[in-house]
């Protein structure tokens, strides 16, 4: 039996495991996607102390740090959690028992939910510019969404594609001024406001986007960057629903505890840190959750 199982392999999960291990807890980390959303970030320039680092590299560093301390990182998906006195955490293959759990489930990319979108995922419609950008060498692509992640995607894509059209639905680009300036200075990128996509059109692959205002854009690829939604793969534990707010974020107290004793949450999936979704806030929440789990385990064992 473990003292703690951390679910999620992003900055929140890795930091929780780091602090837990240093508190001498017997901790196991199980995560479906190593590095989570952070590993899709091309360049991270706001991790304090580091001028710039690839998201994937930062995540690899975090993973190595805890593995060097003896923490096992299991790349599997947790399917469900039961409670029989202690917690029973199950993947497809095994079930682990633990006194406490930290849910660091992260977020998934938000979909537009428009006509033609689902059928063209992987055939021109993508939610990850770092993942698929290089496949569009010499092509013409669109970025849906003119906030920070959209403009960053546009800059990254311009290194591969010949032309990048950013389409923002509202009249404003809600992004850091520095990103807007970089895009304006980039010959390959153009910024378009008031363009809300209505449907994706294409047979075997994406051919064009049709907008609400009737305009059309013929592109080879469309990268959807309209934010993220909290992961909802774990909704209840032993029959008790995990309290979430109306947007799906897991409700946490200041000590990162949830409505279920012994269950804590950290990172993008929570209501914490004023919902500021950054690597640095996720890492901080991981540390706090680990500290709370340590206190809980101490009490349970007393």
């Amino acid at each position: 039996m473990k003292d703690l199982v951390v679910i999620g392999a992003g900055p929140a999960g890795y930091t929780a495991a780091l602090y837990a291990k240093r508190y001498d807890l017997d901790v196991l980390l199980i995560g479906k996607e190593l590095g989570g959303l952070c590993s899709e970030a091309y360049i991270v320039e706001n991790w304090p102390g580091t001028k710039e680092i690839e998201g994937q590299k930062l995540m690899d560093n975090m993973k190595k740090q805890i593995e060097d301390l003896g923490v096992e990182v299991l790349q599997k998906e947790v399917r469900k959690i039961d409670k029989n006195g202690n917690f029973e955490i199950s993947t497809d293959e095994e079930t682990f028992e633990a006194i406490s759990v930290i849910l660091a489930l992260g977020a998934d990319k938000r979909r537009l939910n428009i006509e033609g979108e689902e059928g063209l995922v992987g055939k021109g419609v993508s939610y990850c510019a770092t993942c698929d950008g290089p496949l569009y060498r010499g092509k013409e692509v669109a970025v849906i969404g003119g906030a920070d992640s959209g403009l960053k995607a546009a800059m990254l894509l311009s290194e591969h594609a010949d032309k990048v059209h950013v389409f923002e639905a509202t009249d404003e680009l809600n992004a850091e001024k520095i990103m807007v300036e970089r895009c304006k200075e980039n010959d390959k990128v153009d910024l378009n406001r008031g363009m809300a996509p209505k449907k994706f059109v294409g047979d075997e692959a994406l051919e064009k986007i049709v907008f609400d205002n009737g305009e059309e854009a013929e592109v080879d690829g469309a990268f959807v960057e309209i934010g993220s939604v909290p992961n909802e793969s774990i909704e209840e534990i032993g029959g008790v629903e995990i309290n979430r707010d109306e947007d799906g974020f897991i409700k946490v107290s200041e000590d990162l505890s949830t409505n279920i004793d012994g269950v804590f949450a950290a990172g993008d999936v929570t209501t914490g840190s004023n919902k500021m979704r950054q690597v640095v806030t996720s890492a901080a929440e991981g540390a706090i959750a680990a500290s709370s789990a340590y206190n809980y385990v101490g009490q349970e064992k007393a």
Binding site: Q56, G122, S126, Y136, D220
Partner: protein, 107 residues
């Protein structure tokens, strides 16, 4: 059954023609693609266990024409060919159980 490799030149022989005899699964990948790297060991395990399908990997940086032809715009992109035709495909990392289920559904 071990994992085979194919490029633009031998794709037709190793995949299209070969699939007339036995279903062929093609894994389009690249070494800058993290999800591809995570999928690789899983695909290798499936290749070892299943003799009823051939599994071929195609590096999209080296072979540019075939991925283009089959509309590969996201990787990892795993396609199933039976009797010379593309039967089904999936994009992204999947667990071994999911991949085996996908094979059983289609083959």
């Amino acid at each position: 059954m071990t994992l085979k490799k194919a490029g633009d030149d031998d794709f037709d022989e190793k995949v299209i023609e070969a699939s007339e005899d036995k279903p062929v699964i093609v894994d389009f990948w690249a070494d800058w693609c993290m999800a591809c790297k995570q999928l690789k060991p899983t695909i290798e395990e499936v290749a070892e266990e299943r003799d009823d399908v051939d599994i071929v990997e195609v590096n999209v940086d080296e072979a540019q024409k075939k991925p283009q032809k089959y509309g590969v715009r996201s990787i990892p992109n795993v396609n199933l060919f039976i009797d010379g035709e593309l039967e089904d495909s999936f994009v992204g990392n999947r667990s071994k159980e999911d991949i085996i289920e996908w094979i059983d559904e289609n083959v």
